[in-house]
Symmetry: C2
Subunit: 377 residues, 2 copies
Amino acid sequence: MSRTFGSEAVARFTVHLASGGSYPVAVGRGASLEAPDHAVSLKISRCVVVTDSNVETLHAEAVRDRIAERGLETHIIAFPAGETNKTRAVKEAVEDRMVALGCGRDTAVVALGGGVTGDLAGFVAATYMRGIPCIQMPTSLLAMADASIGGKVGVDHPSGKNLIGAFHPPAAVLTDPSFLHTLPLPEFRIGLAEIVKSAVVGDAGLFEELEARAAALAEGDVAAVEAPLSRAIAVKVVVVSEDEKESDLRKVLNFGHTVGHALERISGYAISHGAAVSIGMVAEAAMSADLGILDEPSVRRLATLLSALGLPVALPRDADPVRVLAGAATDKKARGGRLEFALPRSIGEMARTDRGFGVPVPDDVAISCLDRMREAP
Amino acid sequence: MSRTFGSEAVARFTVHLASGGSYPVAVGRGASLEAPDHAVSLKISRCVVVTDSNVETLHAEAVRDRIAERGLETHIIAFPAGETNKTRAVKEAVEDRMVALGCGRDTAVVALGGGVTGDLAGFVAATYMRGIPCIQMPTSLLAMADASIGGKVGVDHPSGKNLIGAFHPPAAVLTDPSFLHTLPLPEFRIGLAEIVKSAVVGDAGLFEELEARAAALAEGDVAAVEAPLSRAIAVKVVVVSEDEKESDLRKVLNFGHTVGHALERISGYAISHGAAVSIGMVAEAAMSADLGILDEPSVRRLATLLSALGLPVALPRDADPVRVLAGAATDKKARGGRLEFALPRSIGEMARTDRGFGVPVPDDVAISCLDRMREAP
C-alpha cells in the first residue's frame, strides 16, 4: 500500500536520560519517513518491524519497504491485535521468530502500532541479547501522546497489567499523525484523554487550545489534533527527561490514573483506558478541591472539556467507590499501604508537598468524591 | 541446617556504574551473614530467596531464617537444578509464584546459588514490575569469581545461551567462601579457570600465587582459594566499573571465551564451561604468540598452570578446528562477520590496538593454533 505524506514541518524534541544519553522525538506529518535514516544511523544490518495484525494490513509493508530500500534486511513480525495478546507468550513467539531469522545484535526493532505494540515490541528489544535498539513508531493517538515516550515497556500478567517489564529508552520516537487517518474514533478519543492530562499537568495554554477545538477533536479531526498533540508531547518530554526513573516528578503523569487503573481493573477492562482516565481525572481533581488545593471552578472546567471531547465524567453506577479505592490501593503505585495521588493545584500545574508530587488523600475524602460522581440512576 | 562461619575479615569492593550509581561486593567468610543488613537497607518489606533444588537443601533455609528474623516476610522459591532449567519457562514460573505471594515493588530477590541461579533470579528481578533489587549470593566458585559481578543476567534459548536477558546491576554481591565446602570438586575446578583468566587479564601477582598454590587448589582446598578469589574479584570489579556496558574494556573478560563458548556449543554442552575456557585460553594465548603479541614461554606457563589445577589444555580429538572457528564466528561477539579476540600481551596485561581490546586474528592463524593443540590420537 502506498501513502501520501504531507510536507509540514516536523517538531523535534530531545529526551535526556539520567545515564547521560538522549533520544530524539520527531512529531509531525512525514516523521515516519525518517525511519530509514534512523535505522541506518544505528549501524545495524537488519530491522524487524513488529506490529499487530491490524496495523500490518494498513502500514507495515510501506514501512518495511522504505527501510529495505536502504539496504537493510527488513522483516515484518505480526502478532494478533488486542491487549489480551500483550503477554509473555507472545513476546516469546516474537523472540523465536527473530532467532529463526538469525537476528543478532546487528538488529533493531521497529515498534509500529499502538500502545500494546510499543510496550510488547519495546520489551522484546529490551531483553533480546540483553538489549537492542528500538525505534518507536506509534500509530494510535494514545501511543503518540503518551506510551511511546519514556521507555516504559512490558507485558501483562493474568494478575495485573505491565507486571513484567523494563525501562528501555527507545533509539528514536517517530510520531506521524498521518497514521491517525486509519484510527477508529473511539480509539482517537482515548488518546484525547491523555492530551488533556498533559494540559492539566503542565500546559494551561494547551488546555485552552483543547477547549477551543473541542468540537473538531470530538469528531476525530486529525488536522485539529496535530498542534495539541505536539504540545502534549512537549510536556511529557520535559517530565521524563527530568526524572527518567520515576522516583518523583514522573508521578505527575499518574494524574487520573490511580483511580483510572482501578476502574479498568474492577471492570475487567470492559471500560477503556481513555474513559477510565477521564473519569479518574475528574475524581482526582475533585479530591484536590476537597483538600483545598484546587479551586472548584477548575474541576467543573475539566469535566466540561472532557464531556465536550466525548469522554465520560461520571462513575458507572455499578462501580462501588469503596471497591474502586481498594483497587487503587493494590496498584503498584501504593507503597507501604499509603495511598498517594498526583493532584493538580491549578490547570497546568501539579501540587508538590515537602515529600514530593505524591499527595496523601484520606480514604473518606476519596470515597466522598467518587460517590458524588456516580451516574444518576 | 545451621552453619558456623569464621570471623576472618571481609574484603570490600565497590562497582561504579556508568549511570552514577554503585554497588558493594563483600568477599570473605561471613559475608553471607550480611544479607539481612542489606535487605533492611533497601527499605523493602519482603524477600524471595530464589535458589535451585540442590542449594535449597543445603543453605536456603538458613538464609531465609536470618532475613526473616529482621522482620521481613521471606519466602524460598526453588527451581530444579541444572543449566537446562535456565529458561523463559522457569523464569515465568518464578514470576507466577511471586505474583501469587503478592510481591510488589516492596520486594527484593536474593539469588542464592551458582551461575544459573544468579542469571535466572537476576533476570526475574530485572523485569519484575520493571525492576526490583537483587542481592547476589553466589555459592559456586564460578559464580563467585565471575558471574555474580557485572549485572549480566538472562536465560538461555534453544538456539543459544543467554540470548534473552538484561543488564541489571545487583543491589549487593555477598561472596562467602563458606558455601564452597559443599561444592563438588569438578565445579570447584570450573571456577579456577575463571580465576586464572582474571590473573592473565589483570594481575600477574595473582598468577604467581595460583602457581604456588596449584596443588592445594587442584584438590578443592577452600582455605587456599580465598585469597586468590578475592584478587580475581578485584580484577573484575575494576573492569566492569570502567565499562559497565561492555563497549570496549569489558571485552578483555572474553579471554578464552571466544574459543571456549564455541567448544561448549559444538559439543552440545557436554564439555564443561571451565574445561572449555581452559582450552580456549591456551588456544587464544597461542594465537597471541603466533601474532607476535605474547611470548611463547608465557603460553607454556599458562598451559602448565591450568594442567596443574586439573584443567584440560588440549583440544578434544573430535573437535574439528574449522568447526570451532565457525562456531566462534556465529557467537554474538562477532559483529559484521569480523572475528576478534581478547588477547594477552603478557601474563597480567591484555593487548590493546587503536580500535580497542578486540584484536582481529586471521582464520589461518586461529586454525593453525587449534590444530597444534589437538589431543594425541
